[in-house]
């Protein structure tokens, strides 16, 4: 008796509307008013709790409808439940990131990653074999054990992921030596990244931050982005140690710059490309959900006609 009362009172149209309306209003306000992305909106605790409550109540509605032999209603709400489950699946399994691939580099890490809670350990067996020669050139990538030619800025697909090589830049070879002798570190540094995070690098145990960017043209404008746009024969180098700007000048290739008992130089580098990686989200549950909604509506109409 209690269970029946609970089933009949926990979910009705008032509760459904009371749960769904604030979510829809919030979705619209946050999307268009606050310009938040859908993942951020769906990530709010209030939204998630209401969403789960709506799913739970839908489940109770189905049980209640089946007990009362209202099959049309049960099917239609099951369809809605599948639509909601699809939303949960999309949110939980979303994945997008960028990876910077240097020519000849064997490992690369994701950055600017956005992933759902169910995504664990995405590995991308990808390497850049050869950079592009011209503006609309092709790069040669090594994906999953075989070489593949890919056009810059053209999407391609691999095992459920949508990938795109977006532009090519140079990674000069930086050499830091101690003035007393001895190499501190030698490394290729990928310049020209358009990141929201800081774009500096550090070497060895030194606390210094090294900011390197294309040097300004005489007119004061930086070179346009694109393959070969960075004039690798001259870079603007800024060396910072906490608040102190220790070096801030244009540096020619091969020129040794002294700072705090060390020298830094750079040499001709290797090309690198940035690859955007996005998981393709497929609407697997939406098709059966549509079928159930139509079947539920048809059953309901048939019952009413009788």
């Amino acid at each position: 008796m209690m269970i029946r009362k609970l089933l009949s009172s926990t979910f009705d149209l008032g509760v459904a509307a009371g749960l769904a309306l604030p979510m829809l209003i919030w979705l619209g306000a946050a999307k268009f008013g606050l310009k938040l992305d859908t993942a951020a909106i769906a990530g709010t605790a209030a939204f998630r709790l209401y969403y789960l409550a709506l799913m739970f109540c839908s489940l109770l509605w189905i049980v209640n409808a089946l007990r009362g032999r209202r099959y049309g209603s049960a099917l239609a709400v099951l369809g809605l439940l599948l639509v909601m489950l699809q939303g949960v699946w999309w949110h939980g399994s979303r994945f997008s990131a960028k990876v910077a691939l240097g020519e000849g580099e064997t490992t690369a890490e994701f950055h600017e990653m956005d992933k759902g809670p169910w995504v664990k350990g995405v590995s991308l067996p990808i390497a850049l074999v050869k950079g592009a020669d011209g503006e609309k050139g092709e790069v040669v990538l090594f994906i999953d054990g075989r070489e593949r030619k890919v056009r810059l800025n053209a999407p391609f697909f691999w095992k459920g992921f949508r990938l795109k090589a977006t532009g090519q830049q140079q990674a000069p070879l930086f050499i830091v030596d101690a003035a007393r002798g001895g190499n501190v570190e030698t490394a290729y540094v990928k310049l020209g990244m358009d990141r929201t995070q800081s774009d500096f690098f550090q070497v060895g145990v030194l606390p210094h931050r090294f900011y390197a960017s294309p040097s300004l043209h005489p007119g004061g404008e930086k070179p346009a982005e694109g393959p070969g746009s960075i004039n690798s024969s001259k870079l603007h180098l800024r060396i910072v140690r906490d608040k102190l700007i220790i070096v801030d000048k244009d540096v020619a290739m091969g020129e040794a710059v002294y700072f705090d008992g060390h020298y830094i130089t750079y040499k001709e580098g290797a090309p690198w490309v940035e690859v955007t990686v996005e998981k393709q989200q497929r609407p697997y549950l939406l098709i059966p959900a549509g079928v159930l909604l139509i079947a539920g509506a048809a059953l309901g109409l048939r019952k009413r006609a009788r």
Binding site: D12, G14, P22, G33, T44, S198, K243
Partner: protein, 184 residues
């Protein structure tokens, strides 16, 4: 009549509960919404909080350097672990050369403060510092006092109700001639 109104009551109470839950559980989102409202009451409050954080940050930073790395104010230092790690890496570097760097902030002029996303902000400030090196053993000056003025862009994140410096970079800006309204 009461049976007809019941669903409306449910809608009303559930609709009322949702913004309350947002306020309690999603404070960063609510604050972000408030600063985008017409009028600048909330925006001014948030800017003041951010600039206050930067003031505390630079004040404790000076203490860290002047004391040669005594971490007594580490818990009050409004910065992420990565930033703290970087500062003590620098302090260790200076100490290894048997020096102390004494920083003294002369002036901070805020140029721009932006709330970029829920719980995320950026602040561009022009800072003027005086500094000199001293010998660790007897605090004897090793250099003459020098001055430095430069622009810095700070990235801040709001965690557990407090703004924390998450990162910063030097930026090329001219020293502002006119001090803005939220100058401190």
């Amino acid at each position: 009549m009461s049976v007809e109104l019941r669903p409306m009551k449910k809608i009303f109470y559930l609709a009322l509960l949702f913004p309350l839950m947002l306020v309690v559980l999603d404070q960063n989102v609510c604050r972000y919404a408030l600063v985008r409202l017409p009028g600048d009451f909330w925006l001014k409050r948030e800017k003041a909080a951010i600039l206050g954080t930067l003031k505390t940050y630079n004040s404790i930073l000076s203490d860290f350097y002047a004391s040669g790395g005594v971490p007594s104010l580490l818990d009050e230092f409004p910065a992420t672990k990565a930033i703290k790690h970087g500062i003590f890496r620098d302090l260790g570097y200076i100490k290894s050369a048997e020096k102390i760097l004494v920083y003294d902030m002369a002036e901070t002029i805020p140029v721009e403060v932006r709330i970029t996303a829920p719980g995320q902000a950026e602040a561009v400030v022009f800072e003027s510092w005086n500094y000199m090196y001293q010998r660790v053993a007897d605090r004897k000056p090793l250099t003459l006092p020098k001055g430095m003025g430069h622009g810095f862009k700070y990235r801040l994140a709001r965690e557990k109700g407090k703004w924390l410096v998450q990162g910063w970079d030097p930026v090329d800006i001219e020293e502002p001639k006119k001090k803005p309204e939220f100058y401190f």
